[in-house]
Amino acid sequence: MKSFVSYFLVLVLSFSLALGDSNSSTDKLPKEFRLNGTATQDAFGSSKNKALHSTVRLTRNDKLIAMGAIISPEGHILTKASSCVGAREATLSGGEKFKLRVKKRNEALDLALYQMISDRNDFKPVNWNDSNASKDVSWILSAYTELREIRIGITSGKHREIGREGGVMGVMLGTESKLGIHITEVIPHAAADKAGVQIGDVIQKIDGRSVKKRDQVVSIVGKKDPGDVVMMQAMRNENEKNFRITLGHRSVTFDLFNRNMQMSGPVSKRKDNFPLILQHDLPLPKEAMGGPVFDLNGDCIGINIARVDRVTCYTLPSKIVFPVVKDFLSL
């Protein structure tokens, strides 16, 4: 059956090759007139320019790590905390580059404050607005990674809280016996694998507490967040082994098994535990998170806080972000 599908594709291919010189039927919409084509982008006029002028690229050795929003004339930058780890320089749309100073973090909202090291006080900060962010199905835009183009989309889906997912070890728990709980699967490159856990190891203690049932393990680990450490004591061939496991993100750990994720490309590690989000469909890579989102007037309605999948990004709305900005800048 599979081979037939490919045959079918071959047939289609030879068929379109045969059409090579007849033009009308093979027409595709030129890129410039597509949803994210340059002709459509140009319609956004001054809001496009505002987006390009108030967004920065955060890099290390010229490698893009995250994007950020300029929030003061003195060059303060707001970005996604868990994405921008290791960022050293900020680049503006005009190409000027500045070294960065880390100022503050808000772990709960996954936001971080940086400042560009410079004497200038003429940086162009975003203009915050949340008055029209509440209406479903509105045009929005963000600067694209090179700060030359924008990406266009609409908000859609209810504004809502995204619950906490908790940290995971990346193992499958099998039978329970007097010895403990048998590990039947270790997900490659996930937390437990990195710590040296192997299939067949039998879990006896987690964080010093004896465990006999799968639920006990799930309960202890589930209370912790990604990045937290658990200590695991296990038996391997009658030898006691101790592992120090730094927990991973549920979404990233199990993505290998999710066909949707294979079609989506890399997503943000942290995409959970936000008090309120706006959902949209801007086609942005995960390195574009941390950047600002604008409405048709060129006002900032929030910060891109997570790339979730092929069709979904979350934005932390300005209503949530602005109090943090005020708090950050009052220092």
Binding site: S3, Y7, T40, G157, N260, S264, R310, V311, T312
Partner: protein, 322 residues
Amino acid sequence: MRLCIISLIISLVTAHADIVSTKSWHKQAPQGIEDLVAIQERLRSLLPQTKAALVSIEAIDGAGSGVIVSEDGLVLTAAHVIGTTGKKMFVRLPDGKRAPAVSLGGSEISDAGMLQITKKKKWPFVQMAASNSAEVGDWCFGLGHPGGFDKKRGIVVRIGKVIANKDETMQTDSRLLGGDSGGPLFDFEGRLIAIHSRVSQLPDQNFHVPIDCFHANWDFFKNQDLITYEKMQAGGFLGVECEYKETGLVVRGVIPDSAAEQAGVQINDILVSINNEQIDSREEFIILISSMTPSALAKIKLVRNGAELSIKVNLGSRPDPK
């Protein structure tokens, strides 16, 4: 003087007509914020009635989306969502309520599928566009349940443009994800123009089944006939490569040593009918031929250089895909 007034009125009317005829969503590209706002308002105005007819489809082995197209609960979806005919499934309406349904027919060629809600009720439904109404460059919007039904999130709307539209496939930049499969794609008149089918990795690679495929094979699909690749393999084979155009189904290539070559079918012949069944799409042609046995004798009507010919062909077997 009177003449003058009349001519003024006429020119006013034509001026007015000009304004009406260039709606923002008919322009090749929006010219500014005003056009963008008009497109946004138009989209918003089309959502209540289109969303009401969206269903999430739940089977034992997976979930997809679909859309109701008749008051008695006929649902269009993707063939890979229904899988087989006569299968019991559930549809879930936007309010979360479930209703029983049974799968009808479809085609693995285009990925068109149909199912029927079996609970008697006056169901909300959408209008289908006529065949050949969607054009490359048209604005469109898709609805669906990407990743499955999620009441906290609700229905997701994605806007885009028709990038290509040919035979059994429409391509758009209105993006899709698993769970959207079978969901509806609408034009800016609120008419159903396609059903979500599949994606490749790039953002612009979203593929849909044009509504034309349903129109051309309506009775076949409704009668619980499902054309699968397996069935096609076992069925008859003519041996032509064709393309459907306004003039009809045009032969673009004749496969050497095939039944078509032996019967003298030529490039640029237009295939009109098979056994007196009029051909309305490339897919219908494949279905008609594949529904016969390899040893069947098919009566084919075709047009060559403007003249109609009738030929009889002993069909052959489809070559082994390996």
